[in-house]
Symmetry: C2
Subunit: 182 residues, 2 copies
């Protein structure tokens, strides 16, 4: 943030009185500009024992497989957001079953909330952000080609819970990856 | 939003190509400014059969009772945020037990995530945003003086589940209230 979105003057940073962290602040109009994490919502679309994955048509991770997910929009419930993203990316109609897993991805200021969902029919196809969409059984999941660690973690947790026959609400963290050795 | 936070020029609104909703857009530098819901995290601090409530020292709802809760900060897990808010508002140290209830409050673009928590000791006192903090048993909850409908809903759900002896993860909606009759 360089300029005040209210009055257009340059912003500075300061810790407001009574606050304990640095914020963007406009000396001209006095507005404090808070910045907060964004919520990403998505689904694990199930059809019998298979899971629908999307192969990404956009960067980052072009060509890699992912679950349908994206930023929650203003005015939208988390379940409606997960349903919308599933339709946008996989043109798939799902029944949202239950919130299933929340992942904190603190180093990128994102919170992922993934829902279990059931595919309503087989009229799925690639949306504009996908190259293809495909049902995978657990044994066929392309583990080496999964786009994001949070999706990898979600799928691993899902299959573990499915074997146990129960899906308690799960919370996990995706930490900043360690650097590669020099 | 009136001005571009990147370059300081006035923003306009448009629906970007491939998008389906109107966004703030800067014709000068080309930046699209997405706006997304904010996540509020908080706790239900338990001590034996009692719940810790805070009486608000700030508007809105000055003087009304609430559970400790506030906006999730960048770089913070949802549980850490709930713990921080509980300390800030009630100077209370809690052990976060589990995520318990998520409420969509779409008309104000907020998602509330409330945790069950256990008070670690009795060294609680009013933080700067509270007039007083106090333990209430279910029968003593000041139902007519609860600050927000989402807090009312959380408390009702909590006591219902406690009577049933189980706390499944709950999702609910707080709709825009109907106008009062003329």
């Amino acid at each position: 943030m360089n300029f005040c979105s209210n009055c257009g003057q340059p912003v500075t940073t300061l810790t407001p009185p009574g606050d304990d962290r640095s914020r963007f602040y406009c000396e001209s109009c006095g507005m404090v500009h808070y910045q907060n994490p964004r919520l990403v919502v998505g689904s694990i679309p199930e059809a019998e024992d298979k899971i629908l994955l999307c192969r990404r048509a956009i960067e980052p991770c072009y060509g890699m497989w992912t679950l349908p997910a994206g930023y929650l929009e203003n005015g939208e419930t988390v379940a409606a957001g997960a349903k919308r993203e599933t339709f946008e990316e996989a043109r798939a109609r799902v029944e949202i079953l239950a919130p299933y897993a929340l992942y904190n991805i603190c180093h990128v200021n994102q919170i992922y909330l993934m829902f279990r969902a059931r595919l309503k029919d087989d009229r799925y196809r690639a949306g504009s952000e996908s190259l293809e969409v495909k049902l995978f059984s657990e044994n066929d999941i392309p583990w080496d080609e999964i786009a994001f660690r949070v999706i990898n973690a979600t799928l691993l947790q899902f299959f573990t819970d499915r074997r146990a026959g129960r899906f308690p609400f799960y919370t996990g963290n995706i930490s900043k990856p360690n650097p590669d050795p020099p």
